[in-house]
């Protein structure tokens, strides 16, 4: 065997090893979370809010965090959707392919995407303090909407740009206006991709802790108004792990498992949903 063939096989082995390492880390993370979290799971976790002395190891569950997280991420995603869908439609089908404005907007979105969530949190808290809003469900929803906005818009934008332009041209040739083409043809054709984008942003929102740390606060009760603080699962994990009591830490692991399962559910759900909705697209 020549030297170059030996080099080839060495590097190929290294590459396969590296890929295995990366995929293996995923397996390791999931295994760790399941192994630690599963023993601490019980029905009360899902059906009860923390009772008195919960953080010392007494009765209760994390229903407040589960519901709070769903409220926060749901509200944030809905708000982000209102803003990002028109933007993505505009970027994807209104402007010309090589539009300077579109590249500026995309650059701004990419910068926004990269901004650390703790900076979003600090910024949100600053604005809320200036407006006199205290840590509340509303504040958390607003900050999560900002955090999810670039993710959702860029994901939708990529999907819309991949759509073949013949369909749009056909609609325009039949006399439809841009708006009609966009609303009736583009959205329907790209529905699977748009759904994936929404769920991607939802997943990012529900898992983010640093942005809601100051803006949504934390509470043992389920919020009944937008102006009450709201608990969230990531913070439930973080705070419970930070206590010195093993029983409470156990529940932190269980909360982490619940969060991970939720994320896996959203991830697989979006694949399934986009495959299902794909039936309505013209290929």
């Amino acid at each position: 065997m020549k030297r170059r063939h030996i080099e080839e096989s060495i590097f190929k082995a290294l590459m396969i090893g590296s890929s295995g390492l990366v995929v293996g880390s995923l397996g390791l993370i999931l295994l760790t979370v399941i192994a630690k979290g599963a023993p601490a799971l019980n029905l009360a976790m899902f059906t009860q809010t923390p009772k008195g002395g919960y953080y010392l190891g007494k009765e209760g569950g994390i229903l407040n965090a589960i519901v709070g997280s769903l409220y926060l991420a749901g509200g944030g995603t809905a708000l982000a959707l209102l803003l990002s869908l028109p933007m993505a439609l505009y970027l994807g089908s209104y402007v010309r392919r090589r539009s300077r404005w579109a590249s500026i907007v995309r650059l701004a979105l990419d910068v926004l995407w990269g901004i650390p969530s703790i900076v979003y949190g600090a910024f949100g808290f600053t604005i809320m303090a200036a407006l006199g809003i205290r840590a509340s469900l509303l504040g958390g929803i607003l900050v999560l909407a900002l955090l999810e906005l670039p993710i959702m818009t860029r994901a939708m934008d990529e999907i819309i740009r991949m759509m073949p332009s013949e369909l749009e041209q056909a609609a325009l040739a039949l006399g439809a206006t841009r708006l009609e083409t966009t609303l009736h043809i583009v959205t329907r054709q790209t529905l699977p991709g748009l759904t994936t984008a929404i769920l991607l942003a939802f997943g990012r929102g529900i898992g983010d802790a640093a942005s809601v740390l100051f803006t949504a606060g934390y509470t043992d009760r389920i919020p009944t108004s937008l102006f009450q603080p709201a608990a969230s699962l990531p913070l439930a994990v973080f705070f419970q792990l930070g206590t010195p009591f093993p029983e409470v830490q156990q529940r932190g692991y269980a909360a982490a498992l619940v969060l991970t399962v939720l994320i896996l559910f959203v991830s697989f759900g979006s694949r399934w949903l986009s495959a299902r909705l794909g039936r309505y697209a013209i290929r």
Partner: protein, 328 residues
């Protein structure tokens, strides 16, 4: 129920009539203008964020010279000492260790996926990487606390201490396991999906003609990659690494949970560190009655924002050349 009774309903009805009166062309025109108006939002948001943080950080910039803040070694808010140097170093150390650990395997796996892997392998690995990118930072933190910190404490630290302990860079003065190495390992796994995705796109963007030409003159596949593909893609790969580092810089919760949070300038990968993000997360929102405290913390946030904008701007401009489209 008569909806006409409420003023809102009346107004909505009028608005609907108004909309109906608009011709299709006018609707299109107005919608276009509205959409265009909405697309100013991202740019406005970036500027507003920057300006808002700058305004809030201004008091401390007025009170102390920037250089003294950046190089100050002591952080004692109660005495009015706000030296950010240990935190900046903490951020840089953790990021550097994470990238040093992440880059080689990430590049190798990305090249493997782009050049060698069968389509089936790709369709399996791609969703797994997406999943890895979607795992919340707190869950990474849990993994770090449960698996990585004990591993560092019980295996890596004693091993390094035994064989390489005489090098200051590997000296073990911290027996807890919480420290830069643990943070770096967790972060390395977190940024892996990003670096792999970008490198993969960049490598795939090289036209097949180049590979075919190289293979046709008798090069092996690895030689083709080494001499034909990689030189073409080097700037793109660097841009991907820069983007990955900017992710690592800004990561908060996972790092906060494993890095030890001791405000001292580290000198070994086993030392604890206190990155800027952890500083903000641990202290902001409380004790804001201490003068200049929140201003100093928002200066830290402003620095993170500034670093991220520079890193992201540069890498996006480089990547734009490769793929003709921006990768987030």
């Amino acid at each position: 129920m008569e909806p006409e009774n409420t003023p809102l309903a009346t107004w909505l009805t009028r608005f609907q009539i108004h909309l109906l009166r608009l011709s299709r062309q006018n609707k299109d025109r107005w919608a276009g203008k509205m959409f265009l108006g909405m697309t100013t939002l991202p740019l406005v948001l970036v500027i507003v964020m920057f300006v808002a943080l700058l305004i809030r950080a201004w008091p401390i910039l007025q009170a102390k010279p920037l250089w003294a803040l950046l190089t100050g070694q002591t952080w004692r808010p109660l005495r009015g000492e706000f030296g950010l140097y240990p935190f900046i170093m903490g951020t840089l150390w953790v990021t550097a260790v994470a990238m040093a650990l992440a880059v080689p395997p990430c590049l190798l796996s990305a090249i493997y996926l782009a050049e060698y892997a069968r389509p089936l392998t790709r369709t399996i690995v791609k969703p797994l990487l997406d999943l890895l990118a979607g795992i919340p930072s707190v869950v990474y933190g849990v993994w770090g606390v449960v698996a990585i910190v004990p591993w560092v404490k019980d295996f890596l630290a004693p091993t390094f201490d035994k064989y390489l302990g005489f090098i200051p860079f590997f000296a073990v003065d911290n027996p807890t396991g919480f420290g830069i190495l643990a943070g770096g390992i967790v972060l390395a796994v977190m940024v892996a999906p990003f670096v792999i995705a970008i490198t993969y796109e960049v490598v795939r963007s090289v036209p097949d003609g180049l590979r075919e030409a190289s293979l046709a003159v008798g090069a092996t596949r690895w030689q083709t990659i080494k001499y034909a593909v990689l030189p073409q893609t080097l700037p793109g790969i660097i841009a991907g690494i820069v983007l990955g580092s900017s992710r690592a810089l800004g990561e908060t919760m996972a790092v906060l949970m494993v890095v030890g949070n001791v405000a001292r300038v580290p000198s070994s990968i086993f030392d604890p560190a206190y990155p800027l993000t952890a500083l903000i997360a641990n202290n902001y929102g409380e004790m804001l009655s201490i003068p200049l405290y929140d201003s100093a913390l928002l200066l830290a946030a402003l620095m993170l924002l500034g670093m991220e904008m520079v890193f992201n701007g540069i890498s996006t401009l480089i990547l734009h050349r490769f793929t003709g489209r921006e990768i987030a």
